[in-house]
Structure formats: C-alpha cells, structure tokens
C-alpha cells in the first residue's frame, strides 16, 4: 500500500490495450488530421494568407500553425480519452477494471497517458506536415514540447471525466462539438486577439483557450497575446480542477459503480 504505483503490470496492461486500439486504426487516426490540417494550409495559408499581412512579423501561414496544432490536441485528447473510458462502460467490459487490483491513480495514469500519447504523436505529425507548407521557426523548443505534452495530458484528463459522465454516444460528442470547437475557433487559432476591437478583445479574455493558444504560439514566435504567466496559471488551474474531479469520481464511484 505504501508505493504509489503498486501495480505497474496493471498500469502497463491498460496503456498497451489503449495504444493497441490506436494502432489498429493508425492510418485513419493519422490521416484525418493530416488531411484536414493540410486543407487549412491550402485555404488559409496559401489562398487567403497571401493577401494577409504578417502577424507580429510572422507570415500568416506560419502564424496559424501553433493554433492548428492546439485545435487538434484539444479535440483528439478529448475524444480519445472520453471514448477510452466510455466504451468499456458501454460494452460492459468495465467490470474487469472495477474488479482489478488497480488504484484510481494507476487507472487514470494509464487511460490519460495513452490518450495524451496519441495526441502528442498527432501534434508532432501535424507539425511535420506544416513544415512542408511553411517555413517554421521554433523559438523555445523545450517549452513547446512541454506545453504540447501538458496540454494533451490536461485535455485527456478532461476527456476522461466526460467519458465517465456520458450516458450515450451523443453526450460524448456534445462537449467537443458544442464547447471545444467554438471556443477554439474564437480562441485565436486564425488571428491575434490584438487585431480585434476592444470590446471583442475583452470578451475573448473570458475564453480560456485564448490563453493556451497564446502560450503555445509564444513558444514558436516569442510573442504572446496575453501574459505568459497567466496562461500557465490557466493551464495548471484547469489541470488541478480536472484532477480534483477525477479524484471525486473515484471516491464516490460516480457513474462507475452502483
């Protein structure tokens, strides 16, 4: 009981199982985001971007890269992690997890770790795709990688909560579609909030995604729309809230146990 991870075999088994699910459909998993990101580059980077002025000294095509990676990171982390825990609830195979000598921490690390791994891989693939279209420059590569991993982990944790909460496939779709997509599009993937009118700019500051995209873009181009410390505070705060909710879920057995 003393060790935090007393059942490493169990943790590894879940992680492997989740990764196997990813690898079974690896081509779809990778191809879809690569194609859609390429389309963004063709439309926004080449067609429209050529008429756009530089943003803080960065060509428009390159400017949208961090935001696009974040967009994929949010949606993929959320859907991978929520599906990963929802599906066994749906098929009934969750009985095995519930009856196994696996602690909540181990289960969460495995599910969230696997979901985050997938979206980090996807993020890097998109980064590689982007470098084909636009000249990329990464000012703070380690910070970039750190943000990539931490954002993926946070949104996977959030996805885990959504998966436990969801009672049907529709609910599984609701959060990404109804909340994440609008927040992300209005969060400055395609523009700098400095470009907005003062009223919209103030309004945007209520959108947490703005802070995440701003920080991530800073790691590329050394320029942030909002204060970097505030961005990191947001990310850490969101992570802490999700972690607290997950702890509560396991303590009470909410929607997992009768």
């Amino acid at each position: 009981m003393s060790a935090l991870i007393a059942n490493p075999y169990g943790l590894w088994a879940i992680y492997r199982f989740e990764m196997a699910r990813f690898l079974r459909t690896v081509w779809q998993s990778l191809l879809t985001p690569v194609i859609s990101t390429s389309l963004y580059f063709v439309v926004f980077g080449a067609a429209i971007g050529s008429r756009m002025s530089e943003m803080h000294g960065v060509p428009y095509g390159a400017f949208i890269v961090p935001g696009l990676i974040m967009l994929t990171l949010f949606t993929e982390s959320l859907s991978n992690a929520s599906f990963g825990i929802y599906f066994p609830k749906f098929t009934g195979t969750i009985y095995e997890l519930l009856s196994a000598p696996v602690s909540p921490l181990e289960a969460v690390l495995a599910y969230v770790g696997a979901a985050a791994t997938k979206s980090v891989v996807l993020g890097l693939v998109i980064l590689a795709t982007a470098s084909v279209f636009v000249p990329l420059h990464i000012a703070h590569p380690f910070a970039m990688l750190g943000l990539l991993i931490f954002t993926a982990a946070t949104f996977s944790l959030f996805g885990f909560i959504v998966g436990v909460w969801a009672k049907g496939f529709e609910q599984l779709q609701v959060i990404p579609m109804l909340i994440m997509t609008p927040l992300t599009f209005l969060g400055g993937v395609f523009y700098s909030i400095d470009m907005l009118s003062p009223a919209w700019r103030t309004f945007s500051l209520f959108n947490p995604v703005v802070y995440l995209i701003s920080a991530f873009r800073w790691s590329f181009y050394d320029h942030a729309d909002v204060n970097l410390a505030v961005s990191l505070g947001f990310l850490l705060g969101f992570f802490a809230v999700c972690a607290a909710v997950v702890t509560l879920i396991f303590r009470t057995g909410y929607r997992l146990k009768n």
């Binding site: 079974r24 000598p101 602690s103 146990k257």
Partner: protein
C-alpha cells in the same frame, strides 16, 4: 477446514431505494464448491459484485483470504477471479491478447506457459489468434473464463456460467471446475440448473429476496429435506381411497390407476410394509411398484415456495 471468504452483515440498498441484500453472513471454506441458488432477482449477482468490487456495499464487511475487500483491496482482488453473468468482451481483440491483458491487469507478470495451459484447458488454443467477435457465444463465454483464470485466482466466482450453453460445453465446464478444485481453488457458482448444483456442489446456499434462507452441505440438505415417493400401479383403478388406508397420506393419480405415497427419506420406519399388507388384506391388487427420491430441484422449489407462503 479453514475459511477463505468471510462475509459479515453484508447489505445492499441500491440508489433506487431497492434493498437487494438484507444483512448476509456467510463463510466459504477453502477449496469447496459452493452453489448459490435463488430465483431471478434474489440478489446473487449483487452479492458477487460486492465481493469483487463492482458494487459498493451499503453495510457490512468481507474478508477474502484474510484481506478486507475495501481497505486492502489490492491483496483481496488479486486472489479473486470473476466470470460475470453478462457476456462482455473486447470484440476487436484477439483471444490471446485479451487473456494476457487480464493477467497484467491483475498485477501478475507475464507467464506464457500458464496462459497456454488455461487456453488449452478451455479448448481455446486453436482460436488464440482469432478476434473475439468472430467467436460463437459459447466460445466467448470460454474466453471470459480464461480471462478470469489468467491471474491464477484462489477464489473463482462463476455467475451462471452455463446459461445458454450447450450440453457439451456444460460438461466441459463441470470438468474444469473439478480440476480447479483439485488445484485448491475455491469455486462459488450461481445457477438456475439445480441439477448442476446437485452434480457439483459441496455446499448449497439458497437466497431469496436478499435473504440467505439456507446454507447446508448438499448431501445433508438432500437427506434432511428430501422426500421419497412410492408409486403403486394398480391392476384395477380405484375411484376413492378406502377409509381403512387413512393412516397413510395417500393420493390417487392417473385416473385412479396409481396410488402415491410420500414419505420421509431419512425415516427409519417408512410405513411401507404395513401399507402393502393392508392393501393385500383389502384385496387391492397391483402390477408394479417404484420409489423415487426427490431431487435438489424439488427441494429448492419447495424451499422457495414455502417461504413465499410463510411471507405472504
């Protein structure tokens, strides 16, 4: 014999307000086969689910091989294997992958030799690389058993392992359970086929409306509650039972051509010789005689139904 599973005052009321288990006390002995019987909705699955950690108890405690299932859940759960009532498998996985997964999940390091043994025992070895969704229902049930055995549990729960299973698989299952017992595994099973309990169990527990109404050695139960029945086939049908036979609780059957006498199986004095003498004196001739012992099924039905009457 030592106790491997000790259930104390275990109760469960679901969020809906339904009380599925009234406080239950039960000790399971190391190495026995225990059959838990009861009508639909009696609380068998609820009881098993609590012990395995799938349902949270409302009260009471359980020790599995000395480990509290809540406080010391890791040690307790490593000893326990579960084959649930409902079929639930990972359709896209191969048989081998899913069984290896179960072993890892339960904290055991890989052991290919053990996995092969389990798969061979369940006639799954040939199918080891098949995706589970391509298997028949009976085969999927075997996969679930293989998963439950992957981590070498000391206590195995089989919740209706033979529901919807053909005769051959049922025989295989019985053979497997006996082999497990030889290896010292304690098996707790539920079934609606009473003949199964009769065939396999060392002890039987009957649960009804969340109450454990009987826990008894199977043999003792059958001796204690078993009835015998003597059927006398008459040469000429009777319209009524002669008054001089009033000392025996007799019934007429088959339009008066059969006389039926029920008596206590364990009684010294069955009352049969004087009955036959009396028939002879009355000039009632008979063609044939036979006696039957009531099965566990008859006992079970009478147990469950007499209690219903008593409760009503």
């Amino acid at each position: 014999m030592s106790t491997i599973l000790s259930i104390k005052n275990l109760s469960k009321t679901y969020a809906s307000g339904l009380t599925a288990l009234k406080p239950i006390n039960l000790d399971i002995r190391q190495g026995e086969i225990f059959a838990l019987l009861g009508p639909n909705g009696a609380g068998k699955t609820t009881l098993i689910s609590i012990v395995c950690g799938i349902v949270t108890p409302s009260g009471g405690s359980v020790l599995a091989d000395g480990h509290d299932i809540v406080r010391d859940y890791r040690a307790a759960r490593m000893k326990i294997g579960l084959v649930p009532q409902e079929l639930a498998t990972d359709s896209f996985e191969s048989v081998l992958a899913t069984v290896r997964f179960s072993r890892g999940l339960f904290g055991r390091k890989p052991d290919e030799a053990h996995i092969e043994r389990v798969l061979r025992d369940l006639s799954l070895w040939e199918k080891r690389n098949d995706r589970i969704m391509t298997l028949s229902g009976g085969m999927k049930r075997r996969v679930m058993i293989a998963k439950a055995l992957a981590h070498e549990p000391r206590i195995l729960f089989l919740d209706e392992p033979t529901a919807g299973v053909d005769v051959e698989l049922r025989r295989d299952m019985w053979a497997l359970v006996r082999r497990l017992r030889e290896q010292g595994v304690t098996v707790i099973l539920t079934t609606h086929y009473i003949e199964e309990a009769e065939e396999m169990a060392d002890r039987v527990g009957v649960i009804r409306k969340g109450e454990l109404i009987v826990v008894e050695e199977k043999d003792a139960l059958m001796r204690k509650l078993g009835k015998k029945q003597l059927t006398i086939q008459l040469k000429d049908a009777l319209t009524e039972i002669p008054a001089t036979l009033g000392a025996w609780p007799l019934e007429l059957a088959s339009a008066g051509s059969e006389l039926i006498y029920r008596f206590d199986a364990k009684a010294e004095d069955t009352g049969i010789p004087p009955l036959l003498r009396q028939l002879h004196e009355l000039g009632i001739a008979y063609k044939d005689l036979n006696t039957q012992e009531s099965s566990l099924e008859d006992i079970f039905v009478s147990l469950v139904s007499t209690r219903t009457e008593a409760a009503a």
